[in-house]
Assembly symmetry: C2
Homo-oligomer: 208 residues x 2
């Protein structure tokens, strides 16, 4: 099976990005990361890309209108002709234009069991702090298609993670992250295999 | 450790009740079911109680005011001096009087990952139909203390269960039920060991 071409957007360290790169280099997934884009010129994800011979580009969002910034990102992305865009810790809100431009081929990973603990402003340790505050004993992570509802698009895969007594946002984040690094390559592979069928707000996984 | 005395309220077949009886008879938990109460005179849970030599009582809710019915239930329950009341598939809404009467010693099992898919009217296969409709790939079950918020009291334990492609409400219910039968005795044992500390809407489990 040929590999799909993947562009990854990230704002920070990029451990989720690393999970795709590792799975790709180990031939565990039929996917190749062809470009890493960040809004944060100092983000470590650029170094990760460079270490693996992947093109990286920083497009600073500051002093730009939101759609102007996104059109610049798309201008950087589209020449690579990616089959799939992965938001891997990309924390900026997206405009309807960008969402529509990559409709049904852009996915996001979120560190909770959506629809819980999602929406505007919910990222990083804020998510895990909210889980602990709620008293839930289970959290998890979700990979979903991106649509106009923030963190509300069709869910592709989810994995539950236990909340343990004494957890802090940091310890819970670490436990969830390690599952993210399994879940995200799995979602990419399902996309690569052409097995995802979007039906309204649901995403069905077709048998092999 | 001495056994706590448990009264179980159920409206139907009582498989969750059976899970407590089985764990008790196998000495896996320090708890003894001393009474089964139902609002449904034809409910199979009464036969289960009888088979195990447990007192059972049906108090029909029909043609009674809600609080009148509940005061009759409490009059039946309280002479048994239970330490814990377990709602195991008891589907009627409770009045503030009943909730307050058994405050911090009444728990409920719900066939979803609360706060998702709970609230008035959400019971039985309706819950699982709603999960499937949502497109979530994970569901589960929850045991929580009962307070004035329907399905909204402090969560004691939760267990996640995968949603599989092709699931119907019935197949998902069966998978969740089998986890309920593990989760509910575990919650009863934590209560018996005196390890549950309620703090507002959270419930902490103390180390042994």
């Amino acid at each position: 099976m040929p590999s799909i071409r993947v562009a990854v957007l990230a704002s920070g360290g990029g451990t989720d990005l690393q999970s795709i790169i590792d799975a790709s280099e180990a031939n565990e997934i039929n996917a190749e990361v062809v470009l890493v884009v960040t809004n944060n010129p100092g983000a470590y994800c650029l170094e990760r890309a460079d270490k693996h011979g992947i093109d990286g580009v920083a497009i600073d969002h500051r002093k730009k209108k939101r759609e102007e910034h996104e059109r610049m990102m798309a201008d950087a992305i589209d020449p690579y002709e990616p089959d799939l865009i992965v938001l891997a810790g990309y924390i900026r809100m997206l405009t309807p234009w960008f969402i529509d431009h990559y409709r049904n081929r852009m996915i996001n990973i979120h560190p909770a069991l959506l629809p819980l603990f999602g929406g505007p402003g919910m990222h990083g340790t804020k998510v895990h702090a909210a889980v602990l505050e709620s008293g839930m004993k289970v959290s998890g992570c979700t990979v979903h298609f991106v649509d106009e509802d923030v963190d509300g698009g069709p869910i592709i895969v989810q994995k539950a993670v236990p909340v343990l007594e004494g957890d802090t946002p940091d310890t819970l984040q670490a436990r969830v992250l390690s599952e993210e690094h399994v879940l995200l390559p799995r979602a990419v592979q399902l996309f690569a295999e052409g097995r995802l069928r979007i039906d309204g707000k649901r995403c069905e996984i077709e048998p092999r």
